[in-house]
Symmetry: C2
Subunit: 194 residues, 2 copies
DNA sequence: CGCTGTTTGTACCAACCGGTATAATCAATT
DNA sequence: AATTGATTATACCGGTTGGTACAAACAGCG
């Protein structure tokens, strides 16, 4: 068997992610993708199959590399309150560093859910559920440590925090400045005060 | 001068809004629009000028008819806490009644801000600012009535509530069920407890 | 070298894109 | 009935859409 691959598939996927992330699925053309990925049209279809398949792959990879990795890292922490703060503050920091105001690829796609196929909907649903679950676990951990009063209902509060996070990420796309995002982060923490 | 108009421009605009609302600007074609508006291509360009101009008009009209109208109605209320609750609960009700899960046209467009022209960005910015201002006023009104403790900072809390609202509206697009939306609404009210 | 499989460039496809043009039809005022 | 302007249907424009086809160049293995 001769030489089995030349370009880096993951690198090409990450470059495709950048375009989908900013413009969304429909507004991104195959010409946009081949230019950004720096591979030929033929190679793209050979390696990924279709635009939809590439989008699916890009979204899943983004979700794994960013959201899932972060959550699994913070889950290990024993201070629940600190873990939640770090999670929110990380996104404020991301917004501070990103001059392009891309926000969150997952949230962007969640906004477009009614126009997405079931596989994508499933990916989004799992991601959001996992975030909520993370919040719930950290709240319960904080309660066991005595940092969070027992009057705070874990499930409902986790859901409310997820909503704040989604809002923060959407407003990061050019609708809010850094001070506003910090106010959102601090507001989320106030939900833990009972 | 002969008969000055035949079709109802506002009605046609509302029909265009439905399509833009669901699919977004890019994914909506002129064919989609003429079909939904039930007017001819020629009439559309004669009456609205371009796709962009139609979108702008549809968005502005939607914002006036729904968000602005609701806020101005609730502003008159003398119970600040009740006004905020009614505002949130109205969107939960809207989600309950809408089988298509359209969410909010303004929030959808805010998500797409990096790809929108300055006029649209301005409209979105004004709308979000007005909502935040509404929250701030109602918080201050609640504090004067003694319903909200003075430890609650009006501006920061209003910003946090705006984020929860944006999250609620985005999650209404198929990512969350009614109970989850109710938890978000109740979580927002907890921000007023100090 | 010869075989294999990838990459690349290019050409091509039918379909659609936003937008324009035109001629016929239509309704209401004069 | 004549005039006026909006509405309609249809055809058309150049450009782009996602996707396919194909030959040439390429790189590794036997």
């Amino acid at each position: 068997m001769p030489w089995e691959k030349s370009f880096d598939v993951d690198l090409a996927t990450d470059r495709a992610t950048e375009v989908f992330w900013k413009k969304g699925y429909e507004a991104t053309s195959m010409a946009d993708l081949t230019a950004a990925m720096r591979i030929n049209k033929g190679s793209l279809y050979n390696a990924f199959g279709s635009k939809k398949a590439l989008f699916d792959r890009a979204l899943t990879r983004y979700d794994q590399k960013t959201r899932a990795a972060k959550i699994n890292q913070l889950r290990a922490q024993n201070d629940g309150v600190a873990a939640i703060y770090a999670f929110f503050d990380g996104f404020v920091e991301e917004a501070r560093k990103d001059p392009r105001n891309l926000g969150c690829f997952v949230v962007n796609t969640a906004q477009d859910l009614p126009n997405q196929p079931p596989e994508i909907a499933q990916t989004i649903h799992s991601a959001l559920e996992d975030i909520k679950e993370f919040f719930r676990e950290m709240i319960e951990k904080g309660q066991q440590a005595g940092d969070i009063p027992n009057t705070v209902r874990p499930e409902e509060t986790a859901q409310a925090m997820l909503s704040m996070l989604v809002g923060l990420r959407l407003l990061s796309r050019g609708s809010a400045g850094i001070p506003a995002l910090e106010a959102i982060r601090d507001g989320a923490m106030r939900l833990l005060k009972g």
